[in-house]
């Protein structure tokens, strides 16, 4: 059983890393987006192997089911010229490599000082463990304030994004549905007596 789990871990990790690499090397941006979807799936599978079914399924639900759909939506709408996209590759390569090296060095220094190994390994997971319930209880009791603050930050981001793109266009033909529903027969219909005076 343990052997199968370890084997599956390596398979999913390998596919995850490969698809992550393909995201940045694929020529076609639509392919890149689809490789990212594959990467998310493998990450979700890794969560499931850990017994964290809530995190795994939410990853698929939010990132694959909603975020990447909108991403694909935008990528497909753009008329991307593939040859022009590749033109500046060599010019930007040194800069990109420098940023990558700095990032790797920073991560290494952080993990050198505070190794992740300090977290005690989880004990055997009981068969009836309810990951969702445990997470919910922690989030709404112990971590209530951080959770609420995160929610407020997200709300601010939503409002900011809408405010940035909102513009009133008085010339568009839009309908006020409330007024449409509120009309009565006498507002729209006038009965006319078409019979002329009797001869």
């Amino acid at each position: 059983m343990l052997l199968t789990t370890t084997l599956l871990f390596y398979v999913f990790s390998a596919v995850l890393l490969l698809s992550a690499l393909l995201v940045i090397t694929a020529r076609n941006p639509v392919y890149s987006a689809l490789y990212l979807v594959l990467a998310f799936f493998n990450a979700a599978a890794l969560f499931l192997l850990l017994g964290a079914e809530f995190l795994g399924l939410i990853l698929i639900l939010v990132y694959v089911g909603a975020v990447m759909v909108l991403f694909l939506f935008v990528v497909m709408m753009l008329d991307i010229n593939l040859t022009r996209l590749k033109e500046g590759f060599l010019r930007y390569l040194p800069l990109g490599l420098a940023v990558a090296i700095v990032g790797v060095l920073e991560m290494v220094s952080v993990f050198w000082v505070a190794p992740l190994g300090r977290v005690p390994a989880p004990g055997p997971i009981p068969a009836d463990a309810d990951n969702t319930r445990a997470l919910g209880q922690l989030l709404y009791t112990h971590y209530l304030y951080p959770f609420e603050i995160a929610a407020v930050i997200l709300l601010v981001a939503i409002i900011a994004a809408i405010a940035l793109t909102l513009r009133r266009r008085p010339d568009t033909k839009s309908q006020a549905v409330g007024r449409q529903v509120a009309v009565a027969v006498k507002d729209r219909l006038r009965m006319v007596d078409l019979r002329g005076p009797r001869q």
């Binding site: 759909v69 694909l72 497909m76 990951n131 969702t132």
Partner: protein, 341 residues
């Protein structure tokens, strides 16, 4: 017998047997749902419907399937060949995968998983990839317009759908679909969740109609505007896979509405003649009724205009569901809690 059950190869084989026992009746159900649709809409429009193949047309779905199997699979000249062929599969596979969590009775499911509701919601949202990729890979403006419409519609209605499920969660206190049904046990149809969660019941079912791209929300296909939408370039089995996925999703939305809001396998009255009927029959009867409602809606209402669909999803359903979540939350803090749980 005991040795068989403990053998290491037995669990995967048993899972395979269960999958066959679910998927074969499902695909037969899909075939006969197409016939039922043509017959029901026929009678509603005072026609007879298909009546030539077999006795009163009962073999019509088989004739359709054979016809589609032998049709040539056409690939447009400028299409992206790989994605064009992969798209129908990507639409069909999630439509089958969701059935892994559907409970058919107490402890009768392919996998009676703890996070069943979450699994169902996550996998059901994947079907849109088949539609978007089909629209893009076809390299046709009609297909592309259909795909864009489908993507926007799915994202809009999935939110309302998710909120409607939050209400079920609040009452049942579990994500396990079998336990959600068992939480609705009691005196009969008024202890099912459709009554305390009536707005969620309506929002969920209507969102289900919208998510499966069925009339009156079928603008992704919209024959009169964009020919046939995302699958306009498909023929033969590619086209058939899209249809199998759509009808399987219809059956799935109906059975899930039954499980979540209509008491699953429980009879409507806890008295003698009703309790004699097995639970599976009740489950399928309720599902069949909801499927009939799908067809009834299609035969009755004209197609929504696109901006009205978006308005209904974002500005009507989402506020209604949020408001009712608050109502349910408050009710659970009052003495009503004992009645609701």
């Amino acid at each position: 017998m005991h040795e068989l059950l403990t053998a290491p190869w037995w669990p995967p084989v048993w899972a395979l047997i269960k999958i066959i026992f679910v998927l074969v009746p499902l695909l037969l159900g899909v075939a006969y749902l197409t016939l039922a649709e043509r017959k029901v809409i026929g009678y509603i429009q005072i026609r007879i419907g298909p009546n030539r193949v077999g006795f009163r047309g009962v073999l019509q779905p088989i004739a359709d399937a054979l016809k589609l199997l032998f049709k040539e699979v056409l690939i447009p000249a400028n299409a992206n060949r790989f994605l064009f062929l992969a798209a129908p599969v990507l639409a069909f596979v999630p439509a089958m995968l969701v059935w892994a969590a559907v409970p058919f009775g107490p402890d009768v499911a392919i996998s009676n998983m703890n996070a069943g509701l979450l699994y169902v919601l996550a996998i059901a949202g994947l079907g849109v990839y088949g539609i978007i990729i089909a629209g893009w890979a076809s390299n046709s403006k009609y297909a592309f317009l259909g795909a864009m419409r489908a993507a926007a519609q799915l994202v809009a209605y999935e939110i309302a759908m998710g909120f409607a499920l939050v209400g079920v969660l609040m009452l049942a206190q579990t994500l396990n679909l079998s336990k959600i049904v068992e939480a609705q046990a009691g005196s009969g149809f008024w202890s099912w969740y459709w009554l305390p969660l009536f707005p969620f019941f309506l929002v969920y079912f209507i969102s289900g109609v919208a998510e499966t791209n069925r009339a009156p929300f079928d603008v992704a296909e919209g024959e009169s505007e964009i020919v046939a939408g995302f699958h306009v370039e498909y023929s033969g089995m590619g086209f058939a896979l899209f249809f199998l996925a759509e009808y399987a999703n219809m059956i799935f939305v109906s059975i899930l509405t039954t499980v979540l809001f209509l008491g699953g396998w429980y009879p409507p009255f806890q008295i003698a003649p009703f309790t004699w009927v097995p639970g599976l029959v009740w489950l399928l009867l309720k599902t069949a009724f909801l499927l009939y409602v799908f067809l009834w809606i299609r035969a009755t209402f004209p197609r929504y205009r696109y901006d009205q669909i978006m308005r209904l999803g974002w500005k009507v359903f989402i506020p209604i569901t949020i408001a009712w979540i608050v109502v349910v939350g408050v009710a659970l803090e009052t003495p009503l809690r004992a009645v609701l749980r």
